[in-house]
Assembly symmetry: C3
Homo-oligomer: 157 residues x 3
Amino acid sequence: MADLSERFEALERRVQELEDILAIQKLISSYGPAVDGLDATALAEMWAGDGTYDFGIGEPLRGRDNVAKLIDLDSHKTYIAAGCAHVLSAPRIAVDGDRACAVNYSQVFVKDEHGWRADRTGANRWELIRTEQGWKIASRTNSLLDGREGARTLLRR
Amino acid sequence: MADLSERFEALERRVQELEDILAIQKLISSYGPAVDGLDATALAEMWAGDGTYDFGIGEPLRGRDNVAKLIDLDSHKTYIAAGCAHVLSAPRIAVDGDRACAVNYSQVFVKDEHGWRADRTGANRWELIRTEQGWKIASRTNSLLDGREGARTLLRR
Amino acid sequence: MADLSERFEALERRVQELEDILAIQKLISSYGPAVDGLDATALAEMWAGDGTYDFGIGEPLRGRDNVAKLIDLDSHKTYIAAGCAHVLSAPRIAVDGDRACAVNYSQVFVKDEHGWRADRTGANRWELIRTEQGWKIASRTNSLLDGREGARTLLRR
């Protein structure tokens, strides 16, 4: 019985880690729909209260409420009016207890007369934390893959 | 023992939900290969018998056999002859018992003289149901992200 | 008790299969960051020692060390200097014991004066094997979706 109980706890831990990974997948897959759907509440809820977002233009946004203001930027309104999709690739996720790190690509496709053009293509590193409200973004760093070294560094292990 | 039995059942339910999510991921990742691989049988099997597909051109397709006829459309044959990829993004999935809802992006890339051009970029909402043959599509709604409100609504929670 | 023990073993097997799928997702999501991050070690570690990579130009690469030399190719250096992203779609994965097969799309987006252009868009079939170091690539076949039959065949079940 003791043996089964130990095996049971080991299995519970394995299931927990699978749940963690799928929760983080879901979190990251929520970004595009939040910004393209103009859902400021959904966007704010992705970040930890003091989470940050650095996308390489100006100072990093600090705090979930500031991140959520992204959808009010003139540049975002121009994207939305033209027709846009913030498409994020399936991330490589590494969980370490109550912390996790994910790396993936993000692209912004914007409609023009020929179809949809990739106006931004960047590397992303997401630092995630487990909170009482589930996994949240502690920091996201997004850097354009335009030939400079910075973005390539984000992609490495 | 009763305690362990209850914990065991709780763990079984958690594993079931993980299996549900991965089954739905697999289902949605089967769409592109089915249409680009001209595999009408694989395409039909994705939908419930009376499932629907609304992609914003004409009336929604009703019933899996009608959905599978997509690959016989002249527009699809033109895509295939040029070289095309129906690329779907990793979905945000919410399971609720025997029902689930998934939201993601789909793009059709078509070869031209400059590379592959995104000829379509749309928002998708998938309503899924658990059947004896596994998770199937009850309805898929696809709307182009061309600046109109409709597609943005699909993306919201 | 015997009954619970059997149910426990059945659940362990289900968890193992979920772990296998997520491990293969992680493996495939590591490809882009490895090549775009110029991380030859990470690239080599994805393949089995004698694994192969056929991308339709010249003979298939044989052995993980030869695959890792990809990032030294002049064509890759040109991509990197311009700014590039090797974006892979979420794969359809089928596990069969110590073997698995995954099918997805890969695209290479390269920066030009208009944004990022899809310079390559291909179908991929990955044959994977379980090793003592985890799941590894036994063979990857990548074929451009340029209208020819070969790539479409890779996508089929």
